[in-house]
């Protein structure tokens, strides 16, 4: 099933009293079913916070997050986990160092009372391009790219419809990044996933996303189609600066 995602007037404040910091003042956007939607902007602009709000890892926000029209707040935990999953930036930090791949993958199956553990684990490992024998490995026995594949496998094993990708390749070498991006593309074609992808790399956005939002200090300055990148067709000054810097950095200028 492909799902749409809509955030309406999403806002969040960290802290209390005079030191309270409004990290997201008022964010609204709509992601079409099956779309890959990018979130770009400088560090601290609230990109990852949006993902954490959608996934309810941070739950004290205000506003609405609707998945196929249904509020994530109204979803029971079990349903929410079956609907959306997250892949984190650093595969060195997001896998438990003392849990084997088998433990990592079987825990969600156990919690969700699913059957055929072994079959499902083997299928998902094959899906992410790892040999089945890796089930008995520990994170320290895997390379960075292999770890990120395990993290993606962990997200896929509950067969969600929405994947929240928080800089899934920025900790990886360019050759390994290519493998992971290809994998994400292939999985999207295969399963019709909706992706929301945080990244700081506009070349990755151009490669992966249909549209993207440029964020500045918690606000979306504008939402652009990927086609706007090569010619720098943004209108907001910050988006223009960001795209311009990326083009210059790649040597287009």
């Amino acid at each position: 099933m492909t799902v749409s995602v809509e955030t309406r007037n999403l806002s969040i404040t960290f802290g209390h009293g005079p030191t309270a910091l409004k990290v997201l003042p008022d964010v609204s956007f709509l992601v079409e079913p099956g779309e890959c939607f990018g979130l770009v902007g400088e560090s601290g602009s609230g990109k990852s916070t949006i993902l954490r709000c959608i996934s309810m890892l941070t739950d004290f926000w205000k506003g609405d997050v609707l998945i196929n029209g249904k509020s994530v707040r109204d979803m029971p935990l079990i349903e929410r986990c079956r609907t959306l999953q997250m892949v984190f930036q650093d595969p060195y930090g997001s896998l438990h160092p003392r849990q084997s791949v088998r433990t990592v993958l079987s825990e969600p199956l156990r919690i969700h009372k699913l059957s055929d553990h072994e079959d499902r684990m083997q299928k998902v490992l094959t899906d992410v391009g790892l040999p089945v024998s890796f089930l008995d490995r520990f994170p320290h026995q895997l390379s960075g790219g292999q770890r990120q594949r395990v993290a993606i496998a962990r997200a896929l094993i509950l067969e969600p419809s929405l994947l929240l990708l928080d800089e899934p390749t920025s900790a990886l070498d360019v050759s390994v990044q290519a493998e992971i991006l290809n994998l994400l593309q292939r999985l999207r074609e295969l399963h019709g996933f909706t992706y929301i992808m945080v990244t700081h790399d506009l070349a990755v956005v151009d490669h992966m996303c249909d549209r993207f939002a440029v964020m500045l200090r918690g606000e979306i300055t504008e939402i652009l189609p990927r086609e706007a990148i090569p010619g720098c067709e943004a209108t907001h000054p910050y988006s223009r600066e960001l795209i311009g810097a990326s083009l210059e950095y790649e040597g287009h200028a």
Binding site: E42, S43, G144, D173, V174, S175, V176, Q177, A178, E179, L181, N182, Q185, R186, H200, D201, L202, A203, V204, D206, H207, M208, I229, P230, E241, L242, A245, S246, L247, E248, Y249, E250, G251, H252
Partner: protein, 279 residues
């Protein structure tokens, strides 16, 4: 090119307890130029940078020669090395969040470089620090000097580190992924500052990075390392004309703005790359 500042021949590095060399027979020279060393994680590029400053106490470093001007670095005692490290050769590290001392004021940390290497008063060192912070385009350097590292942004932190490393006016600067922790917009500013300082002062720069775009834009020459060896040496502007399949593979694996959205080329690592010697 006049006589090189650095001359490294057949450098081998083995970490304590390891069964194989992390760096295997690397040779290069550095003049008053900007030399890029690129490669993936684990290729040995940072290890080379650290070995030059003898920052690998547990590793066994051997080389036919590892010469800095007329000094054979491998024959120096640790005490002699202290006079070189930070004074004549210095290193800029990746992430200001982890490389600056979190519980010392920025100004004191920058001034320490000067105090340590030159006979002068604290006041004089503090003035030097402020002037240097100005040179790396920090607005209001007096105020920044009184701040702690957590109070400044990443881009500013990285400029502070550059200031710290250039304060003693070194001949060689080794920058190990100096901007990979920074946002694209800030990255260019920091690189431009580093670039102009290095050029103005005629410093030899070694830029260690995994980022091909960075070395293409900010280096004169590039060494490409794979599994502890240099597989190819190129002029940075000729990077796109690279011959070695590994370099070409790295270039092809990179998504580009305006590129076709076909699946990216994936490196097919050949076992013979492990043994080839650079041409």
């Amino acid at each position: 090119m006049t006589s090189p500042i650095l001359d490294v021949k057949n450098l081998h590095i083995r970490y304590g307890g390891a069964s194989a060399d992390a760096v295997r027979g690397v040779s290069f020279t550095l003049g008053r130029e900007r030399l890029g060393i690129v490669g993936e994680s684990g290729s040995g590029k940072s290890t080379v940078g650290r070995a030059l400053l003898r920052l690998l106490p547990s590793a066994k470093i051997t080389a036919e020669t590892m010469r800095f001007e007329d000094i054979e670095l491998l024959s120096l005692t640790e005490k002699q090395m202290l006079g070189i490290r930070g004074r004549r050769m210095s290193m800029i590290l990746q992430d200001p969040k982890f490389s600056l001392n979190p519980i010392r004021k920025v100004g004191d940390q920058v001034a320490e470089t000067y105090l340590r290497h030159f006979k002068c008063s604290r006041k004089e060192a503090g003035e030097k620090a402020i002037a240097m912070l100005e040179a790396v385009k920090i607005r209001d350097p007096e105020r920044v000097c009184e701040q702690y590292p957590h109070e400044i942004s990443g881009g500013m932190g990285q400029r502070v580190m550059i200031a710290m490393m250039l304060l003693a006016d070194p001949d060689v600067v080794i920058a190990d992924e100096p901007t990979s922790a920074l946002d694209v917009t800030v990255r260019l500013q920091v690189l431009n500052i580093l670039d102009s300082l290095v050029r103005d002062r005629g410093i030899g720069l070694i830029m260690i990075s995994h980022d091909l775009n960075l070395v293409r834009n900010f280096c004169d020459r590039v060494l490409i390392m794979y599994a502890g060896r240099v597989v190819e040496t190129l002029a940075a502007r000729d990077l796109d004309k690279a011959q070695h399949p590994y370099t070409r593979g790295l270039l092809a694996a990179q998504p580009r703005i305006g590129g076709a959205r076909a699946p990216l080329a994936v490196l097919d690592r050949r076992p013979e790359w492990l043994e080839e010697v650079s041409r």
